[in-house]
C-alpha cells in the first residue's frame, strides 16, 4: 500500500496544487431528472491487463445506486461488481487488526524519549487488549499517549464508498470504458422571476434552472442534460398532489409545442458547453428571458356553505398571464416556483409573493396566487335561513340552476334516494369593499352547493349580479367595485340541506 500512497503524492505534485485536477473522472455526461435522480455516464481511459483484474472507480457519486451500474467497453467480460462501503476509521482499523501485530510507540511525557514495542491485538471489546511480549495490557488505560502504527490498511476499508469491477480481458491495453449509473442527490427544478408592471399590464419573466448537488461528489467539466417531468416516480408521495381547488381559477392547460426539444413526453433542456457541478453547490442557469408578457391582476374570494365572517376578510390577489406564443413566451414551463416582484415608488424591485406551478405545457393560461389583498375585502354574511314548505319549493322551479353541461337537473333514480320532505331558503350577502384608488373586479365564489352528491336541483332564488355555475359545487359572481367603494352582492339559495 505504501507505493500507492507515494504515487498519489507524486500525482499531487504534478497537478500543481489544483485540487479539482485530482478527480479520476473521465469524460462525463449527466442527465438530470426533476425528481432528485440523475443518470451519470463516465467514459474513462483504463489500461487493462490480460486476464482477470480488479478495476476500481473512484470519484463516482457517494450516493451511487450500485445495482444500476453498467460498465461497457471492448474486449472484456465482467466477472463481478462490488460496492465497498466499509469506511476506514480508527475503530474499524483496530477491529480488523485483531490477531495481528502492530507497533506501539510510547513517548515519555517528562523526557520526550520514545520507546518502541511490537504488540499483538487480542480483542477490541470496550478497551483494546494487547499482548506485549509476555504481558497483557489494555491500550492507553493509563491515559498516557501511545502511537499505534499499523503495517497496512486492510484492502476493503475505504476513505469513501468505492465501486470496483472485476473484469476478464482478452488482451492487455488501454481502452475507453463507459461507466453508467443512477444516483440520487442530484436534482433540478425551475425558478421564475416575474417583474410585474401593474400600470402597463406587463410581466417580464426570467426562467432559471436550479441544479443542486448533494451527492458528496463534484462532477467536473461535464455535459449536462436536464429532463423535465418525473421519471419512474412510482413512490410519489400524495402530498405532491395539487387539486384544482387549491389553485386559483383561470388555469387552463395549453396545447402548444414550443420550440424546445422533447424526448417522448418529456421536455429536454441541454446546457450549452461543459459545466462543473460542485458538491454542495446550487447552480442556476438561465433558460428563459422574456419581456412584456401581457398580464393582469384579479381578486378572488371563496366562501364555505353558510359561513359568516365577523369582520371583512382579505380577497386573494391573483396574477394571470399566458405562456402562449402570442403572449411572447411560447415555451413549456417546467414545474417550479414563480416569484413575483414589483417596483416600488423609488424603482426598487420589491417581492410581492410567490407560488408553485406544475409542469405547464405551452399555450396554457396561468393564474397564480401572490398573496392577500390588504385593501380588497369581502365579508360574507348569512342574512336569513328559514324552512320553506314543499309548495314554496315547487314555486321556485323556474329558478333552477343551469349547470355547465346544459342540464338543469340530473335524473337520479328516485327509487334509490328518497325525495326530501323539508327545504330551506338561505339568504346570503357578500359585502365587497375596495379601499384602493382604482376600481377592481372580485370573483366571489360560494361553495357547498353540491353537498349531496346525488342531488342536482339547486335553485337560486334571486341574485343581485348574475352568477355562473362553475361546477355542481361552486357558483361564481364577478363583482365590479368602484375605487374606494363598496358593493353588496346578495343571493338566495334554495336547498334541501
Amino acid at each position: 500500500m505504501r507505493t500507492t500512497a507515494v504515487a498519489i503524492a507524486t500525482g499531487f505534485l504534478c497537478s500543481a496544487a489544483s485540487v479539482s485536477a485530482e478527480s479520476a473522472q473521465g469524460d462525463l455526461s449527466v442527465t438530470i431528472y426533476n425528481n432528485n435522480l440523475a443518470l451519470v455516464q463516465d467514459v474513462r481511459q483504463v489500461s487493462l491487463p490480460a486476464g482477470k483484474s480488479r478495476q476500481e472507480f473512484p470519484d463516482v457519486s457517494a450516493q451511487i445506486r450500485p445495482e444500476t451500474v453498467t460498465l461497457s467497453g471492448d474486449g472484456f467480460g465482467i466477472v463481478e461488481q462490488n460496492f465497498d462501503y466499509d469506511l476506514l476509521s480508527p475503530a474499524a482499523l483496530m477491529g480488523k487488526a485483531v490477531g495481528q501485530t502492530v507497533t506501539l510507540l510510547r513517548t515519555n511525557p517528562a523526557t520526550g524519549a520514545e520507546t518502541r514495542e511490537r504488540a499483538t491485538v487480542l480483542a477490541v471489546n470496550g478497551g483494546v487488549v494487547l499482548r506485549i511480549g509476555e504481558r497483557i495490557e489494555v491500550l492507553r488505560d493509563d491515559g498516557l499517549p501511545v502511537r499505534v502504527i499499523f503495517d497496512a490498511i486492510p484492502p476493503n476499508l475505504r476513505a469513501r464508498p468505492t465501486l470496483s469491477v472485476s473484469v476478464d480481458a482478452k488482451s492487455a491495453g488501454a481502452r475507453p470504458l463507459t461507466l453508467s449509473y443512477l444516483t440520487p442527490g442530484l436534482g433540478w427544478k425551475s425558478d421564475y422571476v416575474a417583474l410585474f408592471d401593474e400600470k402597463g399590464g406587463k410581466l417580464d419573466v426570467q426562467g432559471w434552472i436550479t441544479l443542486s448537488n448533494n451527492t458528496g461528489t463534484t462532477f467536473s467539466n461535464s455535459k449536462a442534460l436536464l429532463v423535465a417531468g418525473s421519471v419512474g416516480a412510482i413512490a410519489q408521495s400524495p402530498s405532491y398532489y395539487r387539486g384544482n381547488g387549491s389553485r386559483p381559477r383561470g388555469n387552463t392547460a395549453g396545447t402548444e409545442s414550443g420550440g424546445g426539444e422533447q424526448l417522448g413526453d418529456l421536455h429536454v433542456y441541454p446546457i450549452s458547453g461543459r459545466t462543473t457541478i460542485a458538491n454542495a453547490q446550487t447552480k442556476q442557469i438561465s433558460f428563459l428571458d422574456v419581456a412584456g408578457v401581457p398580464a393582469r391582476k384579479g381578486y378572488e374570494f371563496r366562501n364555505g356553505w353558510l359561513s359568516t365572517a365577523d369582520e371583512p376578510v382579505s380577497a386573494s390577489a391573483v396574477l394571470k398571464f399566458s405562456n402562449a406564443r402570442t403572449a411572447g413566451i411560447g415555451e413549456a414551463l417546467p414545474a417550479g416556483t414563480v416569484r413575483v416582484y414589483m417596483r416600488d415608488s423609488r424603482g426598487q424591485a420589491q417581492f410581492i409573493g410567490e407560488s408553485d406551478i406544475p409542469h405547464t405545457p405551452g399555450g396554457s393560461q396561468l393564474a397564480i396566487r401572490t398573496g392577500d389583498a390588504f385593501d380588497v375585502k369581502v365579508q360574507p354574511v348569512l342574512v336569513k335561513r328559514e324552512e320553506i314548505a314543499v309548495s314554496v319549493w315547487r314555486s321556485y322551479t323556474n329558478w333552477r340552476v343551469t349547470y355547465r353541461d346544459g342540464k338543469t337537473e340530473e335524473s337520479v333514480s328516485s327509487t334509490a334516494y328518497t325525495t326530501p320532505d323539508s327545504y330551506w331558503r338561505n339568504q346570503m350577502k357578500y359585502i365587497v369593499t375596495n379601499a384602493r384608488p382604482v376600481p377592481v373586479t372580485v370573483d366571489v365564489f360560494q361553495s357547498g352547493l353540491g353537498r349531496w352528491w346525488w342531488w342536482r336541483d339547486l335553485r337560486v332564488g334571486d341574485e343581485s349580479i348574475p352568477g355562473v355555475q362553475d361546477s355542481f359545487e361552486e357558483r361564481r359572481w364577478e363583482v365590479p367595485v368602484p375605487a374606494n367603494g363598496k358593493v353588496e352582492l346578495t343571493a338566495t339559495f334554495l336547498t334541501p340541506w
Binding site: 500507492t4 498519489i8 503524492a9 500525482g11 497537478s15 496544487a17 485536477a21 485530482e22 473521465g26 469506511l87 480508527p90 482499523l93 513517548t107 523526557t111 520526550g112 470496550g126 483494546v128 491500550l139 492507553r140 493509563d142 491515559g143 501511545v146 502511537r147 499505534v148 502504527i149 499499523f150 503495517d151 476513505a159 410585474f196 436550479t210 467539466n221 460542485a278 454542495a280 453547490q281 446550487t282 442556476q284 442557469i285 359568516t308 369582520e311 371583512p312 382579505s314 390577489a317 416556483t337 416569484r339 416582484y341 416600488d344 424591485a349 420589491q350 417581492f351 410581492i352 410567490e354 396566487r369 401572490t370 392577500d372 385593501d375 348569512l382 336569513k384 359585502i431 379601499a435 384602493r436
Partner: protein, 516 residues
C-alpha cells in the same frame, strides 16, 4: 501506479481556460425589506431567537471586470440567503452558483484526502516539534493517515499532533458564497444590483394607545418592530417593511446554508477512535458563539434631532416625542413602510422605528356581550372607524396594541388587544379586556322555557354604552326583541346607555325560525 495514471489522464480534460475570478467584498449600498410571517397570527409575537419570516435584500456592487468570461464572487451576503431567489440586474449572467463547501477542518480533510500533508507533533516537555510527511486516508471524523512508518490514527494517540496543509483550496469558502459566471463581455467597471430573499427575519406592527379620560378618543403610536437573526449586519441600509400577507412556497424555506454550516461546525474528531479504556482524555466543550451585538439605531445623518414635543392638552399626558416616522406607500396589493433615513440592521438584533403617530383618534368605549343562548360575559373595547374625519384614515397593519389611560394615579395599563390587517374605511375594534364591573345575569321564567330575561348591571361610577349583539344563526333565531335594533352585517345590535350604578333589563325569546 494505476491511480497516478488516471489522475494524469484527467488533467487535460479539466485544463481548459479557467475564467478569471473577481471578488466583490461588500456592497456599496444595501436595501433591506422585511416581510411579516404570513402564518403568524396577529396576537403572536416575533420569535426573536429564530424569526420565522424573511427579508428581500437588494445590494448594489461595483466591480471591475477583465474581458471575457468572468466569475464574480459576492462576499458578505446574508447567511440565510435562498440562492434560487437571487436576481441580478446590470449583468446578465451565464450561470450563478451558491457554493456551500465550507473551509473547515472537515472541508480541509475532504479536499486533501489522498494527498500529502505534514504531520506536526509537539513534545509538551521540551516544546520541540517534529514534522513528518503524511497522506490522508480517511475523513475528518475518522482520521487515518499513512506515514513513512505505517498507518496510524491522528487523534486517538493522546499526543499533541496536528496536520499542516500546503494551502487553502480555492473551492472552499468561509461562508456560503454566491457567485456568477458572466457571458463573454468586454470588461470594465460594472455596477451590479443583486436582490435575493434571506430567511431569519421578521417584523411586527406594535401599537401603543393612550385612551383619553373621557373614553371618546385615544392617541395611537405605531412601531415597526424588526428582528434579524442573520450573521451579517447591514450597515446604513435603506430599510422598509411590507404589511399584508404574501403567498409563500415551501421551496423558499431553504435552510441548506445553515444546515451545512452546522454540520461543518459539529465535528467530533475522536468519535470513531478505538476504545481508549479511560475517560481521562475528554474533549473540551465547544466554544459558545460570540454574544450578539447590542441593538443599535445608527442614524446616518446627524441633523435629525428631537425638535419639538407635541403636547396634547386634552390627553393630560406628555406624548412620546417621535422625530422619525416611516412613510407608507402602496406596493401592488401590499403596503410598504419605508424608514426615511438609512439605518443599520445589525446581526442578531431587534430594532423599532415609528410608522404611525395619531394624536386623537375619535371613537368610543363599548361594553359588549354577544348573545348565543343568553348574553355572554361583557368585554370592553374601543371602537373607531378608520377615516380621516375621525383622526385616522391610514392602513393599520396586523399587530398587538397596548392600551394605557392616564388616571388619578398616573399612567395605568388597561389592557392588550390585537388586530388583523385593517384597510381604510373599516371599523376597528380593540378588545382590551373583560369588564368585571359590568355584569350580566340571565333568568328563564318557569312558565316559558324559551324566554330570557337578562339584567345588565353597571357598578361603575360613570355611565356606559352597552351593546348586546344577536348574530344571525343558521339553526335558530330570536323573537320578542326590543324595537330599534341596529342592523350590522350578520347581526343585530341592541344598544343602551346604562347610567352610573344602575341596571337595565333585556327580554327576548329563542325560536327555531325567525319571524322578524
Amino acid at each position: 501506479m494505476r491511480r497516478l495514471f488516471l489522475a494524469m489522464l484527467a488533467v487535460p480534460a479539466t485544463a481548459h481556460a479557467e475564467p478569471a475570478v473577481v471578488f466583490s467584498a461588500a456592497p456599496d449600498t444595501v436595501a433591506v425589506t422585511l416581510y411579516r410571517d404570513p402564518d403568524r397570527n396577529s396576537d403572536e409575537q416575533i420569535n426573536r431567537e429564530n424569526p420565522s419570516s424573511f427579508a428581500l435584500i437588494a445590494e448594489t456592487r461595483t466591480v471591475t471586470l477583465p474581458p471575457g468570461e468572468v466569475v464574480v464572487r459576492f462576499e458578505g451576503v446574508a447567511s440565510g440567503i435562498v440562492p434560487q431567489s437571487a436576481i441580478l440586474f446590470g449583468m446578465p449572467p451565464r450561470e450563478r452558483n451558491r457554493d456551500a463547501a465550507l473551509l473547515s477542518q472537515r472541508g480541509l480533510v475532504d479536499a486533501f484526502t489522498g494527498q500529502r500533508v505534514v504531520l506536526r507533533r509537539t513534545d509538551p516537555a521540551t516544546g520541540r516539534t517534529v514534522e513528518e510527511p503524511a497522506t490522508i486516508r480517511s475523513a475528518a471524523d475518522r482520521m487515518v493517515i499513512s506515514t513513512p512508518r505505517g498507518t496510524e490514527a491522528v487523534y486517538c494517540s493522546g499526543l499533541h499532533q496536528t496536520l499542516v496543509y500546503p494551502n487553502a483550496p480555492a473551492t472552499l469558502s468561509a461562508k456560503p458564497v454566491l457567485s456568477m459566471l458572466t457571458k463573454d463581455q468586454p470588461g470594465g467597471r460594472v455596477t451590479i444590483t443583486l436582490a435575493y430573499i434571506a430567511t431569519g427575519f421578521d417584523w411586527d406592527a406594535t401599537y401603543v394607545a393612550r385612551l383619553a379620560s373621557d373614553g371618546r378618543s385615544m392617541s395611537l403610536l405605531g412601531w415597526m418592530t424588526m428582528a434579524s437573526a442573520d450573521d451579517t449586519s447591514f450597515v446604513d441600509a435603506k430599510t422598509s417593511a411590507v404589511a399584508g400577507k404574501v403567498n409563500r412556497s415551501d421551496e423558499t424555506r431553504d435552510n441548506e446554508g445553515t444546515r451545512i454550516k452546522q454540520a461543518a461546525s459539529s465535528l467530533n474528531r475522536s468519535y470513531r477512535c478505538w476504545p481508549a479504556g479511560t475517560t481521562s482524555d475528554g474533549r473540551p466543550v465547544s466554544i459558545n458563539p460570540a454574544p450578539p451585538l447590542p441593538m443599535s439605531v445608527g442614524f446616518a445623518s446627524e441633523d435629525i434631532v428631537v425638535t419639538a414635543r407635541r403636547r396634547e392638552e386634552a390627553l393630560q399626558a406628555v406624548p412620546i416625542a417621535i422625530s422619525v416616522v416611516a412613510k407608507a406607500e402602496n406596493l401592488g396589493d401590499l403596503k410598504l413602510y419605508r424608514v426615511p433615513m438609512p439605518v443599520t440592521v445589525a446581526a442578531r438584533s431587534q430594532k423599532q422605528v415609528a410608522f404611525m403617530v395619531k394624536d386623537r383618534v375619535r371613537g368610543e368605549v363599548i361594553y359588549r356581550s354577544t348573545v348565543y343562548d343568553e348574553p355572554e360575559n361583557t368585554q370592553t373595547l374601543f371602537r373607531f372607524h378608520n377615516r380621516k374625519a375621525d383622526g385616522m384614515g391610514d392602513p393599520l397593519p396586523a399587530g398587538k396594541s397596548v392600551l394605557y389611560q392616564v388616571g388619578t394615579h398616573g399612567l395605568t395599563l388597561i389592557g392588550e388587544a390585537s388586530t388583523v390587517d385593517k384597510a381604510v374605511d373599516e371599523d376597528v375594534e380593540l378588545v382590551f379586556g373583560a369588564a368585571d364591573e359590568v355584569t350580566v345575569e340571565t333568568e328563564t321564567p318557569a312558565d316559558d322555557r324559551d324566554k330570557r330575561v337578562a339584567t345588565i348591571r353597571n357598578a361603575n361610577p360613570f355611565a356606559i354604552i352597552y351593546e348586546a349583539e344577536f348574530p344571525v344563526r343558521p339553526d335558530y333565531g330570536y323573537s320578542g326583541l326590543p324595537r330599534g335594533l341596529i342592523r350590522k352585517p350578520g347581526k343585530r345590535v341592541w344598544r343602551a346607555t346604562i347610567p352610573a350604578n344602575d341596571a337595565v333589563v333585556l327580554t327576548f325569546s329563542i325560536s327555531e325560525t325567525d319571524e322578524d
